[in-house]
Symmetry: C2
Subunit: 139 residues, 2 copies
Amino acid sequence: MIAPDFTLDSRLSADTVHLGDLALSRVLLMDDARFPWLILVPRVADVSEITDLPEDEAAALWREIRLAAGVMQSLAKPDKINVGALGNMVAQLHVHVIGRFRSDPAWPGPVWGFGTRTPYPLHARAQLAERAGALFAAA
Amino acid sequence: MIAPDFTLDSRLSADTVHLGDLALSRVLLMDDARFPWLILVPRVADVSEITDLPEDEAAALWREIRLAAGVMQSLAKPDKINVGALGNMVAQLHVHVIGRFRSDPAWPGPVWGFGTRTPYPLHARAQLAERAGALFAAA
């Protein structure tokens, strides 16, 4: 059977900005001004769990998760980084890399399901996306 | 400087049962009957973020996360696995591998910070710990 092409889940694309693609993953910026928040989506069809990926793709994903965590450190200098692969709402495998601050509204709880997404002002979003893109390119 | 020996954070040890040790990580079972829940704690001092680990230890952690996810599949046959490294409450690097069910009380939200931990009955906990230990040994 030929696997269908990779298509980004519509709920992921609706709430995010596409920053670019790494070797394996699409990189998204969550359009939520409350938290600096990246999402990695392996460009592979029909995977939901990290154990669904073959060895080499799993290794690439881990490399990209660590890369994104480094970018988040530089981008936002957070007090803590939260990394999570949940998928309770969107089954398509995706990994969150979120910068957390003691001063953020959800601290110390998780951000998933917390309150209401607050889109960035458009000029701020463009600027942040550009900075994040530059950091990925330099990493 | 000589790094101090690994010591498990007291909040992690208070809520869990020690199942055993993998090459890198201590494996804990969260004593919460609401969710089948494993925690991996790399036996390394003074690490908080996944980017704090050198390459080889990071690779070992990823291997053990995927191993634990496989054990969780066999142990609980969950609808979804949630993997997360948060550390907002306990800074010591630790990774959650949680079996989630559409029927569990927190679904589809995250389990962290949700309601109150419900310890297993002692006999059930011993049995689950034994099964999980056997699955890790066989993996």
